[in-house]
Every structure is written in structure tokens, then in C-alpha cells.
Symmetry: C2
Subunit: 374 residues, 2 copies
């Protein structure tokens, strides 16, 4: 299991530089965690992923459970061997996908002010767990704290996550409290299951409570009293970035200082700028890779939409300061052409760039923290 060390605490903010030591290598923090949902960072090979210096990669248990199935991955030697990644991997519990299919994301909710109900395949939520229909073949699947942890044991990620319920953003306080209490019971059961056969794996608790400061504080208090190896912040983070930052400003000082903190599902650039000074160590999101596949490329001077006509004749790289394969090899003009021609290579090259941009950005943040400049 992991060991965490704070290498340097900034004198200017709660930002810190740290190192998470795992069976498969060291995770330098703060750091961005790209999402390889199906055990594949979309459009990249293992060699291309290795070249990006990604310290931690996020895979989704929900998807891998439905295909090819955790036992298949286990008999292939585990997720590291199956997808040929030698460095650390984190998996989630599967709960997020089950419940976000049921309730929709906060954006869909906001459109209907929470009045629209759809079950998205969720058949029953009980104390035991959740029963849902596979989106692949309609099979009924029961996900419990124990079965989620067993699946994550089979996958074999370095860091695993207990089953939680993701209540919708528009939830009454009473229902949110009931959900929170059950989530805490589920997390306890997940931890117990994990501790039966810990191996090299570590488990991060997921702190819930929506945007209610008292519930967040309660969740933090209850979960940090248990022997989790790290703490992730999950559940609804609010309807916009301002609500999320307000919540984190209140919550972060209560988080266990000596354990790594992970923010689930956030990696847009303005949020990253806000959360690192609050002491977030790692954060995952498919946002940078999704942007890449839509031709939205990151640069030191802001994002560019590479399909715009002005890039047709632009012989400069995406970002002159970037050391990624795409930038040292190709021009904006060629990338523009690939996107306009809908060439698959466009998605590969853009993904390489955006991920490497995030990795380099985090390295720069670490240096700024070391220099007490952040």
C-alpha cells in the first residue's frame, strides 16, 4: 500500500508538493490524472502513454466490469499487464457511472431544475447495494460495496475507491443526509472488504455532502477517523466553479494533512488554477482528452480551435514551448488538415499534446510551490 510524503509546504497557500509511493512507482503531486475509461487512453498506445510521463492513470470499473469483465482482466494478469502499463493506476467503484446514468449530470439536471426523472437502467437501490441493467446487453447486475471492491481487487489498480451513492444536485436536505449516511456505511463495508486482502492496493475514501458545509464536515470527520490511505472529494461539487471553490475552501482545511487528497472529475484549466492553492494533490478528468478530440488544443496563451481557417497555413507548432511529440514533429497547418479531413491520427496527436500540456503544467506548479511562489 501507498506511502505519502509532503516534500514542501508552500508558505503562500495550502498548496504542497508531495510524493505518493506505490507498488508501481511514484506519483509526484500536485498532478493531473488522465482518464483511460476502458483501459485505453483514447487513441494512444502504451508506448505513447509511457512517453507522456503520466504518474497516475484513472480507469473505470463500471466499464471494465461490463467489458471484458473483471475476471477476464484478472486472468490476463491484471489491468497493468492487460493494458501494458507499468506505472500506477487508480480505479473507481463503478458507482459514479451507475448513478450518473440514473440521475444525469448536474448540467442535465439544471435544465429541468431536477424535475425530470429517468432511471437510466438503475432498477433498485437498497442498503445492500444497487441493481442496474448493463447498457451493453441488458443483463441485471448487482453492485455492492463488497462486489465493487472484489472487482477492483481483480483489476488490481494501485489505488481503489469504495462504493458510494452519487445523489443528484437537486436533492432535499433530508434525502441528502440519508444518502450520506448510507454512503458512509457502504464505504465502511468497502474498507472492511479491502482490508481482508489488502495486497499492494490502497483505498481512498470519498468525502460526500454535496455543497452543504456541515455535511461535508461530517463526512470528512467520519471518514478520516478510519484507516483509509487517502481521501477523494466526490459527490455533487455544485452547479458551477464558484460553488465548488467555496465548498473546497471550507472543506480543505479539515482534510487530513498527512494523507493525499484527490478531487474527482475536475481538470479544466481555471479550476486547476483554483484548486492547487487549496491543497488538492491529484485530480482526474476526461476533459483535456475530450477537448483534444474536438480539436481544442491547450497553449500557454490560451486554447486554440485548430479547425479554424487561420491555422491552414500556420507552420508553427501548437505551442512553441511544448516538448510533446506532436509539437516537436508537426505544424498547426498539418493538424488543421488532419482535423478537417477527419483523420484518426488527429485525435492521437491532439491527445498527446493536451495530456502532455497538463503534465508539464503540473510540473510547473510543483516548481512554483517549491519556490513558495504559489
Amino acid at each position: 500500500m501507498l506511502r505519502f510524503e509532503v516534500v514542501h509546504q508552500s508558505k503562500k497557500s495550502r498548496a504542497r508538493v508531495g510524493r505518493i509511493y506505490t507498488q508501481h512507482g511514484i506519483i509526484e503531486t500536485p498532478n493531473f490524472v488522465p482518464v483511460a475509461t476502458n483501459g485505453s487512453l483514447k487513441a494512444l498506445t502504451a508506448a505513447q502513454i509511457d512517453a507522456l510521463d503520466i504518474d497516475l492513470l484513472f480507469c473505470n470499473t463500471y466499464h471494465l466490469m461490463l467489458h471484458p469483465g473483471a475476471p477476464i482482466v484478472e486472468s490476463a494478469g491484471g489491468l497493468h499487464h492487460f493494458m501494458r502499463r507499468s506505472k500506477p493506476i487508480i480505479t473507481d467503484s463503478g458507482g459514479f457511472q451507475v448513478f450518473s446514468l440514473a440521475y444525469g449530470g448536474v448540467h442535465q439536471e439544471l435544465k429541468s431544475a431536477g424535475t425530470k426523472k429517468h432511471d437510466g437502467g438503475v432498477k433498485k437501490i437498497s442498503e445492500e447495494g444497487v441493481i442496474f441493467r448493463s447498457y451493453r446487453d441488458g443483463a441485471l447486475i448487482t453492485l455492492t460495496p463488497e462486489s465493487s471492491v472484489q472487482a477492483q481487487k481483480a483489476l488490481g489498480a494501485d489505488i481503489i475507491i469504495p462504493l458510494d451513492e452519487l445523489p443528484p444536485y437537486h436533492v432535499e436536505k433530508g434525502a441528502l443526509k440519508k444518502s450520506l449516511d448510507r454512503t458512509h456505511r457502504w464505504e465502511k463495508r468497502s474498507l472492511d472488504e479491502h482490508l481482508k486482502n489488502r495486497r499492494y492496493q490502497s483505498m481512498y475514501a470519498v468525502i460526500h455532502g454535496g455543497i452543504d458545509p456541515n455535511l461535508r464536515a461530517e463526512s470528512c470527520r467520519i471518514l478520516s477517523a478510519q484507516p483509509f490511505d487517502g481521501f477523494a472529494i466526490g459527490g455533487s461539487l455544485g452547479k458551477d466553479r464558484t460553488q465548488m471553490i467555496t465548498m473546497l475552501e471550507q472543506l480543505m482545511p479539515q482534510m487530513p494533512y498527512e494523507k493525499p487528497n484527490h478531487l474527482l472529475g475536475i481538470a479544466d484549466l481555471p479550476s486547476v488554477e483554483a484548486i492547487i492553492p487549496l491543497g488538492i494533490d491529484t485530480f482526474d478528468s476526461s476533459h483535456p482528452t475530450k477537448c483534444a478530440r474536438h480539436g481544442l488544443l491547450y497553449t500557454r496563451n490560451g486554447n486554440i480551435t485548430i479547425a479554424q481557417g487561420k491555422f491552414k497555413t500556420d507552420l508553427a507548432p501548437i505551442d512553441i514551448t511544448c516538448d510533446c511529440y506532436t509539437c516537436v514533429t508537426y505544424s498547426r497547418s498539418y493538424l488543421h488538415h488532419l482535423f478537417k479531413a477527419h483523420e484518426l491520427t488527429a485525435y492521437t496527436l491532439a491527445t498527446i499534446h493536451n495530456v502532455r500540456f497538463m503534465i508539464n503544467l503540473c510540473r510547473a506548479y510543483r516548481q512554483a510551490i517549491m519556490d513558495d511562489a504559489l
Copy 2:
């Protein structure tokens, strides 16, 4: 311009091992020429292409003319620099795409026995050239022998091809003869335009005549009397493999022995087995890369359809004897999973394998010829 040497003539057949020396390197023959239509071998980066040892790569002038446009590629330093390929490239004239859009391929034709007429954007064919509408923006574009060669000069491939007309398979003999005569006049004009500013480029004539042995012989005689650097076999190759092979058996002994011979648009495995003993030096086709993207993978023991359920737990590589990145890195089980999950990386890994399989197959053919075993 190129120099061709026959390294070894098989004692058993017309098959020969040769070397084509060009400005950008040596092409060992017989060899497979993958098709990178838009200046991108679909789903691969330049580094991945380099690792495959592809001696000659085919790009389509029609597509590059429409986007980004030959002048854009020229100002980017030419196609080699634009797409970051240091080794030889061949481009076609653009005529094939214009006419195949107009007449459809032989398979579409066979369905309607040639009775269905559609212009596919072709507005006018005259002695001057062909006027067609861009499939991208509807702009009217005139393609003449001179403009095609000028575009190919701007692209800067090592080997270029004169403008020809591609008559449909179901054409009356009189119309085929008229088309052939005009094609010969177009090829002569193309050669004249090329010789005005030869640079390092070489031009292959395209021998036409459909499946009429007399017209093929006439085309071969007329074109081989002119200073072309090599000879491609184009036009309709018949309605099936048997017709094509019969035509090639008659034609090949008439082809200039001391010049490289290229077969346009054919690279399925049974055809390859038949054409190499007939003396074909190079052959291009998008067939192996298309098969790859559909999950049809080549092995020494026949093709496999990787999405089939039996591969879900198969931990062997696609082909145990293959040295490609995909085979030395991943299992069939992982590839099966990527195809079932519609992951983009599937197309990359499958393309790497099928192309490398073809490259290795041709290397084995060369060895067999050296050994007089073929």
C-alpha cells in the same frame, strides 16, 4: 529521378528482386505500398509509420488538392515535410478518384450491369481535361494533364503519375478505344509537363486497355516507347481476380523488363500471391489498412476477425511470428476488448499489424525469389 536495378531474376518465374533508388531512399521490390490518402496513414503517427519500414507510401493528389490544396503543402515544404516522412512517396494524378466517383467501382457497376448512370460530380470531360465539382465545397475544378502534374510538382512526391481516364468496366469496345487514345494523349502531355521541370521526380506511365489483350498490348507499346521511368498497370482490371490474372499473364511479358512495374489498387493476399510471380514490383492498396480498421487481422494461418467471442480470453499475440509493435506488446484478448469497446487505439494497433504483416510478407517473397524458390 529514379534508377532501377534487378538484383535477382528468379529461375522459376518472372518474379524478380529489385531496387528502386530515389532521392528519399531505396525501395526494395517486390513490395507493398500502403495508401495514406490525405497524407496520413490512417490512425498512425510519422514515428509509427517509420517503425514499419514502409519503403514507398501512396498519397492521393485528388484529396490533397481539395484539402489543404497543393500550394499549401508546397509552402509547408512539400508533402515529405508536411507529413514528416523522410522516405519515398508516390502520388497519383487525381484522375482515378474523379472518374471512379463518376462511374463507381466495378462492384457497384456489376450490381446494375453498367445501366445505372451517375455523374458523381463530373461536369465535363473533353480533350482538354475533366471539370468536376469538389465534394467538399461544390467548387468547380478543372483537372488537366498539365494541372495534375503541376499539383504533383507542388506536392513533391518521388514518383508521380500522368492524368488518365478511367473508363467504366461496362464500356463498348469503340468507346474504350476512344478513351484509350485520349488517355495516351493525356499521358504524353503529362510527361511533357513533367520534363519541363523534372527535379528529383520520376513519372510512371499508366497502361490501360481494360481486359482487351490487344488494347493492353497497344497501350504498352505506345507508352513504353516514351521516356517514362516506370510503368503502372491501371484502368479496369476485370470483374474478378481470374480476369485480372489472365490479363496480367498476357501483358507482363510485354512490359519493359528494365523498368519498375507497379500494379494500381491491388493488395489482397490471394492476388499478391498471383502477381509477384508475374513480375509485379510494387502494388498499392488501402485494402490491408481498411481490413485492419474492421478488425480483420492477418496471420500466417489465415485472417482472424478479432471481435469474435473466442478471442475474449486469448492471451496470445495476433501472430506469434510477427515482430510488429502490436504483437510484441498486446494480447488478442486486449485487442478484442478494444474493438468491442470501439476504442480508437484498436484502429492504430490493427493497422500497425496488418501493414507490418504485408511488409514482412514481401520481405519473405524477396528471399524466396533470391533462393529461386518462387
